[in-house]
Amino acid sequence: MSKNKYWFFLLLIIAAILTSCSEKSQPAIPEDITFAATVNIKDMTISFVDLTKKELAAEWIMEKPYTGALIFPDNDSILLYGKQLETADQYSLKEGKLIDSWETGEGIVNGILLETNEIAFADQNLNKIRFFNLNGEEEKQVETERDPLTLLESSAEKKLFVLSFNHEKLGIIDLESKEKSGEFTIHPLAAGAWLNEKSGEIWIGGHGEGVEIEQNIHVYDTETGELKKRIQAPSMPINFLGQENHVYVLSHGSNMLYKINESGEEAATVSVAANPFEMAFANDMLLVAGYDSNDLHILEPKNLKTLKNIKVGEGPFKIVIRESVK
């Protein structure tokens, strides 16, 4: 009997060790570093690049195919989501541990943190924009056209612009009422957008339909939805960043980065990375992730000179920035 008991306890201990092992903990990210994290699709990793030292600080090897991430205002929580995942998972960076899982269901393709400290998710399974608070509680769902992808917040007008990927529609959601307030027709396979609030313009890029390849940025009037002009930015401009009267446009088809002034004139241009999808601003640095070249390019925003090129995991698809806490 005593022997049996002994074995039973031993088994319990082994089980405890095993279960603790299965809850895999990731390398902790110190609070005092400013980093850019890339979510890498092909090898299911997250690479943390220390932006001060300009080197790779850590790598998280994930078990789920995450495609995007969000950093919370607390600067410690990172929320990871993916279209094929049932949950969005909240990790603590300093602990390197999963702290919460949000039951979102499959279909989340994009998410942004709104000025109101709410999160808006684009859900392509439900074809809805879903609003969550930071505790992971869902507050509202708003119907959109099918396949919402790009989300753009207008903080001045308190509006959310939603681009439908396959259905040539731009939907506008009033962020105060969280109701759909309008929509207009745009070009097909639109992706990436920039809002020029001063001139009431929305610049929208895209991939182009079928065998056609998008060569232009389409500029629409945010009120009327009228196509005001096209700006050449070949090919497949799909990412936009606006800063100090300039728009940085990333075209993944030709690996080109354009610096364009607000009137649409090219200020600088550079060929960068291989098949770049994503870019971000951090500390006066422009970061571009090469999806095929598996690297993160750090550029000087002024003249688009490459400062450094850092290898990250395979297939970087999303960049999130966290400023150091201290």
Binding site: I41, K42, T67, L149, F165, N166, L189, A191, H207, G208, G210, V211, I213, S235, M236, H252, G253, S254, N255, A274, N275, F277, G290, Y291, D292, S293, N294, G315, F317
Partner: protein, 467 residues
């Protein structure tokens, strides 16, 4: 089906034919496979080489119009379908965005191409709506996939070539099949003919004609069988002759005493004997001949018993010296009567495992002969021990046997002098019986003799083993 399997020749023919056909079919499919594989491999190699050499024209950066023109020109001249693609959409560059478009290359292929390796295609391609053998060569500028060169050959062309091959093969196979079946049939006939001959010969033998001899020269199993058959039939023939001889001998041996008995008894009945003395003499003769017949029949009976498998010796440890001494005791009067000298030296320690009565019979039969054929001189009996065996030697100074008869002396009814009657009283079976008995005791009996000098019978028996 029974029609096909009722003879060995047909069975063998069927086997040979089936083996030929199976071999041909099998080798056809195998070589077809190899041929196709080698051909496809060849095509693949040449496509790769072609593609690599074309891709060497690419010097980095976006694809130039010049390069496109070169590839188009090459395509118009070469048999291979070649085209160049730079559309990032076709190259799956937008892949993570799940655009609903059938791209030319898939995700994994793009990964391969990004690594700089060529991608091979074999099978149906939806884009071309046909089966193809193709290779895709990446045009890489550092780690950017700027474009691809796609080279392919419709598989139909390959199968056309293998079809030609198939016709050629079919014709060759047909001729081969016919020739090999003819040769196979001849071979089967050659193989089975000796068997048929043997069957006829066996029929012949079973009808009682043993003088058959098969002329089969081959040294294989059938040849061996034939020689065994020949051996068997000659053995049967010899056995048959022996049997005939034996019967002739027996009847001959019996005829003499019977004619004696018949003659003297008739003489008695017709009162040819005049005096009582003569009658007594006749009756004595009749009794003697009857006794001889009795002995003869007794010996024959013994011999037949000994030759049957059921005959069992009642073995026990025997002091051989004692036994021989006892046996020769009863010969002393007759030896004295014939004035023969008896000498013996018997090792008293010899013990054998034997049947007492039978061992005595052996000694008796040999002693009978010795006494019978020794007119004067002596008879010497020696018993000695040699290793695990004992040797009995019975030596006389009798008439001896010439060398030509010596080898046959142990045969039943064998007589050195054919003309001689059995006036000496022997049945002609004594030595044969003695030898049989010695053999039953795992021993050996040899006769050594010199004409007019004497005969020595040597018996070697195993000693009794004390375990």
């Amino acid at each position: 089906m029974k029609f096909l399997t009722n003879s060995l020749a047909k069975k063998m023919w069927l086997t040979v034919t089936a083996a030929i056909i199976i071999t041909i079919l099998y080798s056809y499919f195998l070589s077809y496979l190899f041929y196709e594989k080698i051909y496809v491999e060849n095509v693949r190699e040449s496509l790769l080489t072609e593609g690599r050499s074309l891709s060497s024209e690419y010097k980095g950066g976006p694809l130039t119009e010049d390069l496109r023109e070169k590839i188009d020109w090459y395509n118009s001249k070469a048999e291979t379908e070649v085209f160049i693609v730079s559309n990032p959409r076709e190259l799956s560059a937008c892949l993570p965005f799940e655009i609903d478009y059938q791209t030319l290359i898939g995700e994994e292929e793009r990964e391969e191409l990004l690594k700089g390796s060529a991608v091979e295609k074999l099978g149906y391609e939806k884009r071309f709506d046909r089966k193809i053998m193709g290779v895709i060569i990446p045009l890489l500028d550092d780690n950017r996939l700027q474009g691809i060169i796609y080279l392919y050959v419709p598989l139909a062309k390959i199968s056309e070539i293998t079809q030609d091959f198939a016709y050629l093969w079919f014709a060759a196979a047909l001729i081969f099949t016919v020739i090999s079946i003819i040769l196979g049939t001849m071979l089967v006939k050659k193989l089975t003919k000796p068997l048929l001959d043997m069957k006829d010969a066996a029929d012949h033998v079973s009808k009682g004609y043993y003088d058959i001899h098969l002329n089969i020269d081959s040294k294989d199993e059938i040849g061996q069988l034939a020689s065994a058959f020949n051996h068997m039939s000659s053995s049967i023939q010899k056995e048959d002759e022996k049997k005939k001889d034996f019967l002739a001998n027996v009847s001959h041996e019996l005829r003499t005493p019977i004619s004696y008995v018949k003659g003297y008894s008739e003489a008695l009945i017709s009162e040819m004997a005049e005096s009582e003395e003569d009658r007594q003499k006749y009756l004595q003769l009749i009794i003697r001949e009857s006794k001889r017949m009795e002995r003869l029949v007794g010996d024959l009976l013994d011999l037949s018993k000994l030759e049957s498998d059921e005959y069992k010796l009642e073995k026990m440890p025997l002091p051989l010296g004692q036994l021989i001494e006892d046996a020769i005791e009863k010969y002393k009067p007759i030896l004295r009567e014939k004035n023969l000298d008896l000498q013996y030296r018997l090792d008293p320690e010899v013990i054998i495992n034997g049947d007492e009565g039978r061992i005595e019979q052996i000694i008796q039969n040999i002693m009978d002969n010795s006494i019978r054929y020794t007119g004067e001189g002596r008879i010497r009996i020696l018993l000695s021990q040699e290793k695990d065996k004992c040797v009995i030697e019975i030596e006389d100074t009798g008439i001896g046997i010439s060398e030509e008869h010596l080898s046959k002396i142990k045969h039943r009814f064998y007589r050195v002098n054919k003309g001689r009657t059995r006036s000496d009283g022997g049945t002609g079976l004594g030595l044969a019986i003695a030898e049989k008995l010695v053999k039953l005791h795992q021993g050996e009996l040899t006769v050594l003799s010199e004409l007019n000098k004497g005969t020595t019978v040597k018996i070697v028996l195993p000693l009794f083993e004390i375990r």
